[in-house]
């Protein structure tokens, strides 16, 4: 989780990631940041994030992102 927090803060430092539950729906992360985020997550956690996973439910909070990462690592 700490690695994830570090990545997110590197992209957009002005957000309270531990409490924010609407990172996508609340437009805290725009589409360019999402492209960066996907690339960083793939590099850092050695996963491939298919397009179908890029939905608000998976990216709206740090917890949901973490769940997605763990799931993709297990599925690999």
């Amino acid at each position: 989780m700490d690695q994830l927090l570090e990545i997110l803060e590197g992209l957009q430092p002005d957000v309270d990631y531990e409490n924010c539950k609407d990172l996508i729906d609340g437009h805290y992360l725009d589409s360019l940041m999402i492209l960066s985020l996907i690339a960083e997550l793939e590099d850092e956690f050695d996963i491939i994030i298919p397009t179908v996973e890029i939905i608000p439910e998976n990216l709206n909070s740090m917890e949901s992102m973490w769940k997605m990462i763990v799931r993709l690592q297990e599925e690999d």
């Binding site: 589409s31 360019l32 492209l35 960066s36 690339a39 960083e40 397009t51 890029i54």
Partner: protein, 525 residues
């Protein structure tokens, strides 16, 4: 038959409600499906065959993809981890091939029906310019109503099955209803299978609250369409058809009026659509979220025609920007340009494709392509300068700065809509030039504006209605839902408001002699 005509909301819709109510829950979906085909047939007659072909084909493709997925899952279970990847790869390749073929077929049919004439004409112009003595035959076809909308729904269904986001539907009737549901077939919203298919099929019994909210929403939509959009039509038609006669001030005013008309017509019709679906217990996705409170063009497109924007994002923007070549470009960019500008190039290529498709989706004319690329340019500029603007010593949360951003965005939108409405791109450019070179407020102040089909009373009614919609929008922006608020009031207040709305539509509606109701603008796309 159109959604804002009495034949729809006073005859067709109540009749469907009646049949629906007196049919057992198990068979209610059949009432909706038959009604949808009758609705489609009443507008496009035998072109219904195109919708049927699309429905049969996505049903078949969905099942085909699904059977491959089941076969793959069985094989994967029986082998070691190393082989699993290879098997998955092989099956993904097969599935991708099927999906690509199906998408080409559906989008290709749309392209042939909609753009054959445009393509032929432009190729002939090019051949003439190059002095090549050959002319292509120019074909034009009858286009079934709503093809641009249901094709996008068909593509999203097949792609979602391919991605494993939904299971392929075995039930042809349910899929047919998802594709053809009469309230949405003409102007959207563009729904995903996971959003509406099940609730359409369930055949829920009438619920007082849903019917009440549905009817309220329909009345609100009619108010926007009949009182404002239809009233403005005569003025807009006059100016856009003969713009050379008018100065820049009048043309700028007509661009504002058209933007207002388009919003009232499209969002009003969507209110009627969502209200109609709500009556049958179906919750459709919202298509508008107070777009004129947007602080940038990119935010505007998350509030205007939302379902089209999310469709392009999910099925064009992300798949393209996360494709192998663009992923490599992003990785290269991030290494050399950092986290912000790194993905910008890949994002911009995908964004360009999205806006080109957005423009051409609206119609086969250069003015629509220009409209798409116009918005692309402003979004790109916003992306390029965002880091610089964030460094400026501006208090971004100050209401004055926010007000400036909202006005700036609205002006850009109005200019875009001028090109969108102009009879051709050449006319659009000439009208814009008039605004720049021949701007004067004389015609607006000397009374000439009141001699163009609308008198002072018409403008007064429009101004009052726009103000009402504006205050409702402010309330929504602050999280207050007007209809829930009204429903909490006592019976006298509630019915006074209901009667006031009905009274306003009947008395102030722009119908009869002297008015030309605007055709459903988005149904033409």
């Amino acid at each position: 038959m159109q959604y804002c005509e009495p034949i729809y909301f006073l005859i067709f819709l109540p009749l469907v409600m009646l049949f629906y109510h007196f049919t057992s829950q198990k068979h209610r979906w059949k009432v909706l499906l038959i009604s949808s085909y009758i609705f489609f047939f009443s507008i496009s007659h035998y072109l219904l065959i195109y919708l049927l072909l699309s429905t049969f084909s996505i049903h078949h493709i969905g099942l085909w993809l699904s059977s491959l997925q089941k076969e793959r899952d069985l094989l994967v279970k029986e082998v070691e981890r190393k082989q699993r990847k290879e098997i998955k790869k092989q099956y993904q390749k097969k599935q991708r091939f099927i999906l690509a073929g199906a998408v080409v077929l559906h989008v290709g049919l749309l392209a042939v029906l909609k753009y054959a004439g445009f393509f032929g004409t432009n190729v002939n112009v090019l051949l003439n310019m190059l002095h090549i003595p050959f002319q292509m035959p120019v074909y034009s076809f009858m286009i079934p109503i709503g093809i641009s909308f249901y094709t996008l729904q068909a593509v999203s269904y097949m792609t979602d099955v391919y991605r494993g986001a939904i299971l392929a539907d075995q039930n042809l009737g349910r899929l047919a209803l998802f594709m053809s549901f009469f309230p949405q077939i003409m102007e959207g919203p563009i729904c995903r299978y996971s959003q509406t298919a099940m609730s359409l099929y369930e055949g829920q019994p009438f619920n007082y609250q849903s019917v009440k909210f549905g009817v309220q929403r329909i009345a609100f939509g009619l108010m926007k369409k009949i009182i404002i959009a239809d009233r403005l039509n005569i003025l807009i038609k006059l100016i856009f058809d003969d713009y050379m006669k008018y100065d820049g001030g009048i043309i700028a005013f007509s661009a504002i009026c058209y933007t207002c008309q388009l919003y009232m017509e499209f969002s009003g019709t969507i209110d009627v659509v969502i209200g109609s679906a709500e009556i049958f217990g179906v919750q459709m996705p919202e298509n508008f979220r107070q777009p004129f409170f947007s602080k940038s063009i990119s935010e505007f497109w998350t509030r205007w025609h939302i379902t089209l924007g999310t469709w392009f994002k999910d099925y064009i923007y992300y798949p393209l920007s996360l494709s192998h070549p663009l992923r490599r470009l992003t990785a290269f960019g991030r290494k050399h340009l950092g986290n912000y500008y790194g993905p910008l190039l890949a994002g911009t290529i995908a964004l360009f494709c999205v806006w080109f498709c957005n423009g051409i989706w609206h119609g086969s004319a250069w003015s629509y392509i220009f409209f798409g690329l116009y918005h692309f340019s402003f979004i790109l500029l916003g992306n390029l300068f965002q880091p610089l603007i964030h460094k400026l010593p501006i208090h971004r949360e100050h209401w004055l700065y926010k007000g400036f951003q909202i006005i700036r965005t609205s002006i850009i939108v109005c200019i875009g809509e001028l090109f969108f409405r102009a009879n051709s791109l050449t006319d659009g450019i000439a009208m814009f030039k008039k605004i720049v070179n021949d701007f004067t407020l004389d015609s607006l102040t000397n009374g000439q504006i009141f001699q163009m089909g609308l008198d002072k009373h018409d403008f007064l009614i429009i101004a009052i209605m726009v103000l009402i919609i504006f205050f409702i929008s402010i309330a929504r922006e602050r999280g207050v839902h007007i209809r829930e608020y009204i429903s909490q009031k006592n019976i006298v207040v509630r019915w006074t408001i209901y009667y006031a709305v009905i009274f306003m539509i009947i008395v102030f509606g722009a119908y009869g002699v002297g008015y030309i109701p605007v055709d459903p603008i988005y149904a033409g796309f």
